[in-house]
């Protein structure tokens, strides 16, 4: 299930990307946070409790939204624009 709900911008150009191994679509102008959370419920899991996290401030202050790419880079989801072909992982491999 998705966390965020699109109310506008539904007709903008499609940006294809991969989320947890599955081909997905975002919209032009989406941040990674928006692209991911309109499709799933979390961006990462806490390295302390393992609890799911999905960002908090959406303006680059809380650092709660760092997301991992398939090649191991870490990106701040709320301030990084979605780029075609991005391969994002919101949970450890093997978990669905």
């Amino acid at each position: 299930m998705a966390l965020l709900k699109r109310l506008a911008r539904r007709d903008l150009a499609i940006i294809p990307f991969t989320l947890d191994g599955v081909p997905r679509e975002g919209r032009a102008g989406d941040t990674i946070l928006t692209a991911a959370l309109t499709l799933t419920e979390q961006l990462r899991h806490s390295e302390f409790s393992g609890g799911p996290r999905a960002g908090f401030c959406q303006m680059g202050a809380c650092q709660d939204c760092w997301v991992v790419t398939a090649d191991g880079r870490r990106l701040r989801a709320c301030t990084t624009l979605l780029v075609p072909g991005m391969d994002l992982r919101t949970r450890p491999e093997g978990q669905s």
Binding site: M1, L3, L4, K5, R6, L7, A8, R9, R10, D11, L12, A28, G29, D30, T31, T34, L37, T38, E41, Q42, S46, F48, S49, G51, P52, R53, A54, G55, F56, C57, Q58, M59, G60, A61, C62, Q63, D64, W66, R74, R76, C78, T79, L81
Partner: protein, 458 residues
């Protein structure tokens, strides 16, 4: 003379843009560094890609101000050096370290304008890390910049003008607002009537937002204290206490905030003297009416210098632009300066009224259950702060940080700093002012690990 001036403006929101405009008009070419891809700041944040919505849809009653600010900034393009998506991560006496495009560059400056803005002021509650809980500002960014609601059924909680504004914006955009939970009592709102003579537009607009929410059948509760946000993988509901009674409501998202807090890290690194602002219950850089801080050549304007809102930010930003010209013995428009200071004084007086209408919940921190997470970054509990105060006699916030790591995580205290100070003060029996303020450290935000250094000017 003016050719030698090289002002650095940090932040391209209302304050930074107006400061840049004054300088550019005087033939001075400032360097403007901003974290966002586009100018405007948070409240006048621009979309990355145009969409079907009009400025009126996005900015409501402030549409003309937003459009004017964006146009001003666009027109400055040839007269300023502008670095978007760039972070000033450290400040020395006349040099700034700027992370841009995966490189760190150094820029020399003669004058520094800190227009760093603000983020939501928050306190913790049980369940505040569950996906679906966002700040009020975050909920607004989702809607304006991204065209998304933070959920299908949203509760807005906290206090401050933003509480009603964001709830109303969600309503207008077609989102389902489940309830508005104001932590301040209804009686406090009567203070707003005191602001009618000086700021009738602002007051009446606020009343209209609340009235429209009520007219659309949205429950608005006052004097609310949160018990918990329920859920595991995501938010499923919220429970709160009101007049001694417990209530609960199903929802799948919560927007939360208690006013704003200034981004003051760079002022701290620049060596500015800070004062404790009783009204805001927060420390801010000391400054004169023109925005001069205690450090010669360093100016502060807008919400980053003390929360006052977007209108004040435009005025204060412009005022610092004039201050730089004055301090360089360049011609200025004294009539204009007098008008700016007069308007800023009126807004400041109105701010006191707003604080009384939307008072900060001063008893919240003392009443927090021990097991609530205080630090989101490293999941340190309220109990740890209390224990440090009781068993190790900690009475100062940086000592608390050293012992518990609260404020040391990735957000550097942006999300937990208010709570840490409030909890510590209530535990050790000192005043908020006496427990002090968190010292800032460079880099002020996490940098990309592969950042490479480069010495040339940005």
């Amino acid at each position: 003379m003016s050719k030698k001036l090289r002002p650095l403006i940090v932040g391209a929101g209302p304050a930074g843009i107006r400061a840049a405009e004054v300088l550019a008009n005087a033939g001075i070419r400032p360097l403007v560094v901003d974290e966002a891809p586009l100018g405007g700041g948070q409240i006048y944040r621009q979309r990355f890609v145009p969409d079907e919505r009009t400025p009126r849809d996005l900015y409501g009653s402030e549409a003309s101000k937003a459009t004017a600010l964006h146009q001003t900034f666009a027109a400055l393009a040839d007269c300023i050096d502008y670095r978007p998506q760039a972070l000033v991560w450290n400040i020395g006496p006349t040099v700034a370290d700027i992370a841009v495009d995966g490189r760190s560059r150094r820029a020399d400056f003669t004058h520094l304008v800190l227009a760093t803005g603000a983020t939501d002021r928050v306190l913790p509650f049980d369940g505040w890390t569950i996906p679906g809980v966002f700040t009020l500002g975050g909920a607004q960014v989702a809607l304006k910049s991204q065209g998304c609601a933070i959920g299908d059924s949203v509760v807005f909680m906290g206090t401050g003008p933003l509480l009603y504004l964001v709830a109303w914006q969600y309503l207008k955009a077609g989102a389902q607002v489940a309830a508005v939970l104001d932590t301040a009592p209804f009686a406090a709102k009567l203070n707003l009537l005191l602001g009618l003579p000086s700021q009738p537009g602002v007051v009446l607009r606020g009343i209209r937002y609340a009235a429209e929410l009520v007219a659309r059948g949205i429950p608005v509760h006052y004097g609310v204290a949160p018990i918990r946000v329920e859920g595991g993988a995501r938010v499923t509901g919220i429970a709160w206490r009101e007049a001694g009674k417990e209530s609960r409501l199903a929802c799948d998202a919560v927007g939360f905030g208690l006013g704003l807090r200034s981004e003051t890290q760079l002022a701290d690194l620049a060596g500015c003297h800070f004062i404790f602002d009783e009204r805001d219950r927060a420390w801010r850089p000391e400054r004169d009416a023109a925005g001069r801080t205690s450090v010669p050549g360093v100016y502060a304007a807008g919400d980053g210098a003390g929360v006052a809102g977007a209108d004040a930010a435009e005025l204060a930003g412009e005022r610092t632009g004039w201050a730089i010209l004055q301090d360089a013995n360049l011609p200025v428009d004294t009539m204009r300066i007098r008008l700016l200071e007069k308007k800023l004084g009126a807004i400041d007086r109105f701010r006191s009224i707003l604080e009384r209408a939307f008072p900060f919940p001063t008893a919240w921190a003392a009443g927090l259950p021990d097991d609530v997470v205080l630090c989101r970054c490293e999941e340190i509990a309220v109990a740890d702060a209390r224990l440090a105060a009781r068993q190790q006699s900690v009475v100062e916030i940086n000592r608390l940080k050293a012992l518990t790591r609260i404020g040391m995580g990735r957000c550097q205290g942006r999300m937990c700093g208010t709570a840490a100070a409030e909890v510590l003060a209530s535990s050790c029996g000192r005043s908020l002012e006496a427990v002090g303020r968190l010292r800032s450290q460079a880099p002020i935000k996490p940098l990309p690990l592969d950042l490479t250094g480069e010495e040339d000017a940005a």
